[in-house]
């Protein structure tokens, strides 16, 4: 029985170390090229984790989460413009408002979309995303249409410029992870996993499936909206195809699938692998969208070789190795 606390200690120590590195990263590597990669990587950790709360736990695959990303972005831009908020730290205080607005939108969308299941749900989410993109393009009076919207530009100099955005992303990603962790081991989370396994059976044993799915959807969307807001402020200029970008939605899904659907660490791992790789390709080969080739290769690789993702496959391999190592190894207890 010694192996379990030991493994737990290693896990916690690893997490603490990783978080400590994340916390001091801008001090260790302050050059903007590095911090820019860090901002986007942590952003995708947050996005993938948030997407996983819905897609991983309930099995409802949304390919339209980019809609919430763009909506959060536009909401923050509009708030800052209409309330005449100057650049600086104040705009970050409005990020939760953008999250709240996105949550309300997700409540409405989820109300309809969650009447469907499986492939139909996937298609409904895609359709909804393109509808939102079209709206952003055509409501010229509100959004500036194809001309886009500009955020106030902060006067932070040189090396420091990326740092506030990095910490804003880090806070959101950490929060998303904490919520995901809490849900994963809660009674509510167990209900979500039951829905993933067999929704009708879950209903038959009293899981209020509609309310549960909707809650997961809204929580997931709210995080994506907040992250979208920070992203907009970071890149300072947004237009419909740029923030309501199907590729952003697909990237978070791909990261979750690569790392491990429905696991806590999978989305983090997936984002840590794919996002720096994508940026490296962009730096070295220009904006050639070469990373799309990479993404399709990763996608094929995951489907063919690791259909369950890295984390579950690795855990299984370790269990097998342990089982071979000795009969005294305790059976693995899968806790929610």
């Amino acid at each position: 029985m010694r192996a379990i606390p030991q493994a737990r200690f290693l896990k916690v120590a690893g997490l603490v170390a990783l978080f400590a590195i994340a916390l001091v990263l801008p001090a260790i590597a302050p050059d903007p090229a590095t911090t820019n990669i860090a901002v986007f990587t942590v952003m995708y950790i947050g996005l993938a984790t948030a997407w996983n709360i819905m897609g991983g736990y309930t099995g409802y695959i949304s390919l339209g989460h980019a809609a919430f990303f763009g909506f959060g972005s536009y909401t923050l831009a509009l708030l800052l413009a209409h309330l005449h908020i100057a650049a600086g730290y104040t705009p970050f205080l409005f990020v939760p408002v953008a999250g709240l607005a996105t949550a309300v939108l997700a409540l409405g969308i989820g109300w309809f979309a969650l009447r469907t299941r499986a492939a139909t749900f996937v298609i409904v989410t895609i359709a909804f995303m393109f509808m939102l993109q079209l709206l952003a393009e055509n409501l010229v009076g509100l959004t500036g249409g194809g001309g886009g919207m500009t955020f106030p530009y902060p006067r932070w100099g040189g090396d420091y410029f990326n740092t506030p955005f990095y910490y804003a992303m880090l806070i959101l990603a950490t929060l998303a992870l904490a919520v995901s962790w809490r849900i994963r081991r809660s009674k509510f989370g167990l209900g979500l996993l039951a829905i993933r396994d067999d929704e009708d059976k879950a209903l038959a044993v009293g899981v209020p499936t509609r309310a549960f799915k909707l809650t997961a959807f809204v929580v997931s969307a709210a995080f994506v909206g907040m992250i979208g807001g920070v992203y907009g402020y970071y890149v300072t200029y947004i237009y419909p195809q740029f923030v309501v970008d199907p590729l952003i939605g697909i990237s978070m899904v791909l990261m979750v699938f690569l790392g491990g659907l429905g696991t806590l660490s999978g989305p983090v791992l997936g984002a840590l692998i794919l996002e720096p790789l994508q940026l490296w390709l962009a730096y070295n080969y220009g904006a050639s969208r070469l990373y799309l080739v990479l993404y399709s290769a990763v996608f094929l690789g995951v489907i063919l070789l690791l259909p369950r993702g890295i984390v579950p496959s690795l855990t299984e391999a370790i269990d097998r190795w342990r089982a071979r190592a000795g009969p005294s190894a305790p059976p693995r207890v899968v806790t929610p």
Partner: protein, 243 residues
């Protein structure tokens, strides 16, 4: 006193009348068997009573209160549990987690706190022990044998402390030794005060276990009463032998 009362239940699927003016009563404390030839509408009756499909006509009363129009989760909350044909469990959850899903909790805080509260886990382990499957508590549902799944499904439905349990073919596809165990556990749960309504094709299982039997034929109740009485009913013989 009847715990569940069904009056004039009617359901049509396109051109097929699956349940046609079906009426029956389940007495509190009984083990009532619902039998009938294939396609006589037994499972449809289950789906109508538990709110899985909407009925066209008829009334369902539980504890003298109408439960028409309620969804499956609401009906479950009132104290009616059910199992499915071919044992449905959650394959990627452990047996223990399968037992914890149906446990009821009150309030939002309870919903967002840990899934494995000590006393709930203890109760789940007791139930697994009662069914003699506690050794697989930490195995994934998908790794269990068919018989273990049947027992697990029965155990899980008990976790919400229902008053009435609808069992869809509890004896279907299991070996004779396990059949004995399932019958015995149902009987013992019945002694603890749980009422059962079960659909079953295995006649000796029904005749040995049930205190009441209702016979359905072409969606209609054609006989009901004690197992002995029903067995001798000429209408029942007609229905089964196709005279």
């Amino acid at each position: 006193m009847s715990l569940l009362q069904i009056d004039g239940l009617y359901k049509r699927f396109g051109g097929v009348v699956a349940v046609d003016d079906c009426s029956l009563e389940v007495a509190a404390g009984s083990i009532t068997g619902l039998i009938g030839p294939n396609g006589s509408g037994k499972t449809t009756v289950f789906n109508l009573v538990t709110g899985f499909i909407p009925k066209d006509k008829g009334k369902v009363t539980f504890k003298s209160k109408p439960i028409d129009g309620l969804g499956p989760d609401r009906i479950y909350a009132l104290g009616i549990g059910r199992t499915f044909q071919l044992a449905r469990i959650f394959p990627r959850l452990t047996a223990l987690e399968n037992m914890l899903v149906p446990v009821r909790r009150k309030g939002l805080r309870a919903l967002f706190s840990r899934a494995d509260w000590g006393h709930e886990k203890t109760r789940a382990m007791e139930m697994l022990g009662f069914l003699e499957i506690s050794h697989v508590a930490n195995s994934l549902g998908g790794a269990l044998s068919y018989g273990q799944r049947k027992l697990l499904e029965l155990g899980a439905v008990m976790m919400a402390e229902p008053e009435l349990v609808l069992l869809d073919e509890p004896a279907g596809g299991v070996n004779p030794a396990l059949l004995e165990r399932i019958a015995d556990r149902i009987r013992r749960l019945n002694e603890r005060g749980i009422t059962f309504l079960l659909v079953e094709h295995n006649m000796s299982f029904v005749m040995n276990l049930c205190t009441e039997v209702v016979v359905l034929h072409q969606g209609r109740t054609i006989a009901s009463g004690s197992p002995e009485a029903v067995r001798k009913d000429p209408a029942v013989l007609d229905a089964y032998l196709g005279a």
